[in-house]
């Protein structure tokens, strides 16, 4: 059984089939990319995994646990973390608070204990703080610790979102277009971080991307979608030289004339 498996996922919005019997599997510890033109349904896959939508058909499993019907907030407990295409940070909080919030799913106290701020709460807070410091170290965010997120530059915000996802101690990381809006240097940093995440932290990464060069550089395996259906999957080289994939991205020769 693969680490993460999606089987025949289908969902429609109104009359439009956003996803049509999409199946793929992800091995543990690998970086798996989903590519496809705009509107192919890539982010929809993520939103389904996060249980923001209910599937019409199909299921997905993490290590044999069927996750197709759990509540949206239970997804985090299962070890799945996510970043968003348009940054969904908590803008009025500091970077530190955003990261500490990532630790929420590992919380062991209840709100009565917290009202009185008993020893257990204090220890948990300090432990969260230590863990987030490790992430700040990892992503070089020291300079931005106490700053409000809404004042930060776009690239840094994206990094904070990645950090927040990492703070959740995930086993599977969903990254939605992590390199969009980043310049060359920031994209390089990102690819280094992603290999570090894979090798040092052992986290499996599921990636939605447009930047084909980035995908080629970093992925172990790739899935190509178009109009909600799977075109092909395999190694980056295979997929990116597949004629259907090229047609989806670049169009046929006839269109050019």
């Amino acid at each position: 059984m693969a680490f993460f498996e999606a089987e025949n996922i289908s969902i429609s919005f109104g009359g439009i089939r956003a996803l049509n019997r999409v199946s793929f599997d992800v091995h543990e510890g690998e970086i798996f990319s989903i590519i496809g033109p705009n509107g192919a349904g890539k982010t929809t896959v993520f939103n389904c995994i996060n249980r923001f939508y209910d599937l019409d058909q199909g299921s997905f499993c993490l290590e044999n646990h069927d996750l197709s019907r759990i509540k949206p907030h239970a997804v985090a407990d299962m070890g799945i973390a996510r970043t968003f295409q348009n940054i969904e940070l908590f803008k009025n909080m500091t970077v530190l608070d955003n990261l500490i919030l990532g630790r929420h799913c590992r919380r062991r106290t209840n709100f009565l204990k917290e009202t009185f701020f008993v020893r257990a709460v204090r220890d948990q807070e300090i432990e969260s703080r230590e863990k987030t410091e490790e992430i700040i170290d990892f992503l070089d965010l020291e300079a931005y610790r106490e700053q409000l997120v809404l004042n930060l530059p776009y690239g840094v915000q994206k990094t904070v979102e990645l950090g927040r996802a990492l703070a959740m101690d995930p086993r599977l990381l969903l990254l939605d277009e992590p390199s969009s809006g980043l310049n060359v240097e920031e994209t390089d940093d990102l690819s280094f971080w992603m290999s570090d995440i894979k090798e040092e932290l052992g986290i499996t990464i599921l990636l939605v991307e447009h930047n084909v060069g980035f995908v080629q550089q970093i992925s172990d395996r790739v899935l190509a979608l178009n109009f909600g259906e799977v075109i092909t999957h395999g190694s980056p080289k295979e997929v990116l030289s597949h004629p259907e994939v090229m047609k989806a991205y670049l169009g046929e020769e006839d269109d050019a004339s």
């Binding site: 982010t43 968003f84 295409q85």
Partner: protein, 295 residues
Amino acid sequence: MDVVNEVLQTVLSGISIGCVYGLVALGFVLIYKATEVINFAQGELLMLGAFISYSLIHMLNFSYLAALVVTIIVMGLLGMLLERSVLRLLVGEPVYAIVIVTIGMSFFFRSVVSMIPGWGTDTHGFQTPFTDKIARKGDLVISWEHLSIILITIALILILFSFFRYTRIGTAMRATSQNQLAAVYMGISVTKVFSLTWTIAAALGGIGGILLSPITFVHMNMGFIGLKAFPAAVLGGFGSLPGAIVGGVIIGITESLAGFYLPRGWKDVAAWIILIGVLIIRPQGLFGIQEKKKV
């Protein structure tokens, strides 16, 4: 036959009050759609319209029709003045700041009215061409006051509908309510649209006031009826103009029936119970659109 008549009469008076609620709600939703301001002072605009028409009819001996026209003009100007002097300064500020400003305005109007000689804290009434006139259809007895409200509201709705549908300014207003920035790029003077919105909304409030006066009489706390306009607007689905009227009518009918058939105290509460019930089942109101944030 009597029971049916009774029910019909109750429903009809409910519809007429509901029309007034609907008019206030309409002004309210209009402002919200165009400018995203939640106008807590809409009820007070109704009250001001009532007082102005009272003064015109009672103290200056205007005819009902003349008073109606003058009230509309005066209230419209007041709306424009409010927008120019107060609301324009708050463009772009967070929603809650603007809400507090309108709340403050409502306090202010209510109290100022109590200080004006001849108005004060008393309750006043005035004669309309419809006072004490009734219409009969078989056994059914309807007062012309109620009927006039319904007819005038229908006329207003038709006028507004054509205005928004067929005139350039109306279309410009609809465009602005969808996307202010795009409207600016298209050359629409958004500030003029705002002024016009407030003018129309204030005028609607004023008409509501003059229509309501024969039924509830003119007093400074009339604005609380404006509070009923909120559930009307919400019931219809916020941001939906026809929804505001429909919501108002539903609430009017509910109140009327509850007041007649249920024990004391249910009348005030019935409307709210219906509203909460609807919202639990349909969080966006009857005609509203559910906007879930897309990620």
